[in-house]
């Protein structure tokens, strides 16, 4: 029951405290096919998170609409589970209960719930920590719990808002592998917001570039998987990086200086 996700003439205007109006999203139009891995890339404050929150139903757009297939998004729901940038694992529930949370909300019967929970705990490698408190886990492990919780509710679209931003390099690379395995297994559509071009190159089928709330480019990433160091050093990958940097208004010299 995978569905096409479409953004149609999406505007999102915020009013600053000073009374000044800011276009977080500026007439965004695009469509995403089922099973695609889309990275939304842009500078900080240029509408990436807003785009994701509108799709999640947490932020009503000022104009335009978002659709899943024929259904217009009107509020949050389990068909668009989200993994947040911050730590959203509930500290008052054991790891297992965290993964079960969405399933209980959906009133899945006991047996099915237990099976699904066990499956996703194993998929993210946390079976041995099912009865731990979240505070006993590392930041990376808590992200795995959040990922398992989102996967468990069985949505066909997963939204990820810089989920690995606060983690160290090695943990992040490890979680990329976990995420890609899950994606290949489930064929879910994934929206992944990041400001890290390398991360986008590792993960994405397609990169949506946002600048000042406008969709400035829609880039196909036709690199072979797995995207190891050699692939990312290939001419194709370097060209994509250059395109992205150019769109973001960063010259190559600036980039190497950073």
């Amino acid at each position: 029951m995978s569905r096409v996700v479409s953004f149609e003439g999406l505007w999102c205007v915020f009013e600053h405290r000073s009374g000044q109006l800011v276009n977080a999203l500026h007439d965004v139009n695009f469509e995403v096919q089922p099973g695609e891995f889309v990275c939304v890339v842009g500078r900080s404050g240029h509408g990436k998170t807003t785009l994701l929150r509108v799709l999640a139903g947490l932020q009503p757009p000022t104009a335009g609409q978002t659709r899943l297939g024929e259904q217009v998004v009107e509020g949050p729901g389990a068909d668009r589970a989200m993994v947040f940038q911050q730590d959203t694992v509930f500290p008052w529930l054991h790891v297992r209960e965290n993964v079960e949370f969405g399933l209980r909300a959906l009133k899945v019967d006991d047996e099915e719930r237990k099976r699904t929970t066990a499956h996703w705990l194993e998929a993210v490698g946390l079976t041995d920590f099912a009865d731990s408190w979240p505070r006993e886990l590392s930041g990376g492990m808590r992200k795995r719990v959040a990922l398992a919780s989102a996967m468990a509710v069985g949505s066909d679209v997963i939204l990820m808002d810089e989920p690995f931003g606060s983690l160290d390099y090695f943990t992040r690379r490890n979680l990329h592998d976990v995420l890609l395995d899950l994606w290949e297994e489930t064929q879910k559509t994934i929206f992944f917001v990041t400001h890290d071009i390398e991360e986008a190159l590792i993960l994405a089928d397609r990169v949506i570039l946002l600048a000042e709330g406008k969709l400035v480019d829609d880039i196909r990433v036709d690199l072979p998987r797995p995207r190891d160091e050699d692939v990312r050093a290939s001419t194709g990958a370097v060209d994509i990086t250059k395109t992205i940097l150019a769109h973001l208004g960063i010259t190559e010299e600036e980039a190497t200086q950073v």
């Binding site: 729901g77 730590d87 500290p91 008052w92 909300a105 808590r142 959040a146 606060s166």
Partner: protein, 408 residues
Amino acid sequence: MSLTRLLRILFWVGWVAWFFVSALLVLAVSTVSPLGDWRFEEGELHLTWLFIFLWAVLFWAYTFILRFRASIATVRKIGKAIRGLPQRIGRAAKANPLFFITWAVLLVGWQITSYIAPKGTLEHPLVPGFDYIIYNALYRLSGNWDLFGGFSLGGLTVLFGELAPFPAIEGAESRTWTAVFLALGFHSFMTLSRLVAGLGVGLIAGLVTGLALPYWSALRQISWAPFNFLRMIPLLAAIPWMQFALGVDLRATTLFIGFGVWVMLVVATMNAVANVPDRYIESARTLGASRLRTYLKVIVPGAMPELRTALLLAGGLGWSLTIAAEFLGFPTGLGFMAAAAVQETNTARLVIVAIVVAFYSLLTFYLLNQLFNRMVSWMPQRTSGTTDISKVAGAAGAAGRAGDQLHE
């Protein structure tokens, strides 16, 4: 169904039934009974005690039959703790010598001050030394036992006299240490019963209201004006009014203490609810949780950590209000003892009351903390007041830092 389970259910059913019937009986024997002219005759008052007795039998049967091993283990544990006390104190003194030094300085300082301070114009010294407190004021407390004869909480007057398993002590000549402890015990019991009733009502009402108001905005809009009006009433000014309305009995104190605790707890609970991080709520919503489920399963548990402070403050407030209520017009309780001491300008007895109340307050504080730790077993367990900043930064901070990094 196993016998154990049956007995356990029977115990709880009996306990709840006992609670309600006793409450009804207390109401029935009150001087100003809401049940009108229907009151118990003196003989029938024993029914109350029969109920209390039955409950006690049930309770001990439950404890000793069903939880025999656990009871023995508890007794052993307590014995071990008492035997190990000197060692523990020694270790604590080594770990935190300043704590003991402070106490020693305060106590010795008080005693020295009592020798050099001017006696003042009162009958008793302004700064009574410990020798004076113990041999003069504490011993004379046995005089408060006499009040038993004149004491009245509805019909309970007669009962205490009838059931007291010791001869009544009359006159100043018959002072004994037994009477001292009876007097302290009796007045403590009266104060504690008022505190428990008032605090119980206040805590439950406060938590329920504080959690209900944020959920229903209509309820909030309706109640906001009257609530804030009630909040502004000076509590001490309300004491005489409560006495006029309800008389000097348990219902008046319960209402008064309950009201004070309720007001504070509603504000604190609503604050705690408002401070639950948005990210938990949004996460729950995207996982498909309804509004009600999000409230009950995310916001309520998420608000618990902040409620610790509120609960402890409520305990302290409960004590202040109980003592204040007794001070202003009850013929029994620790507050009454203080009031009587003030009238006799008996400074030493005031010190005794202060020490006793401080002891009970600490005990309440400890029990509320234990209750709280049970409620939030998911949090790193911590006793308020023992937080070491350097340790917190390492343990709790690490979890917080990972999550709380600023997003764009």
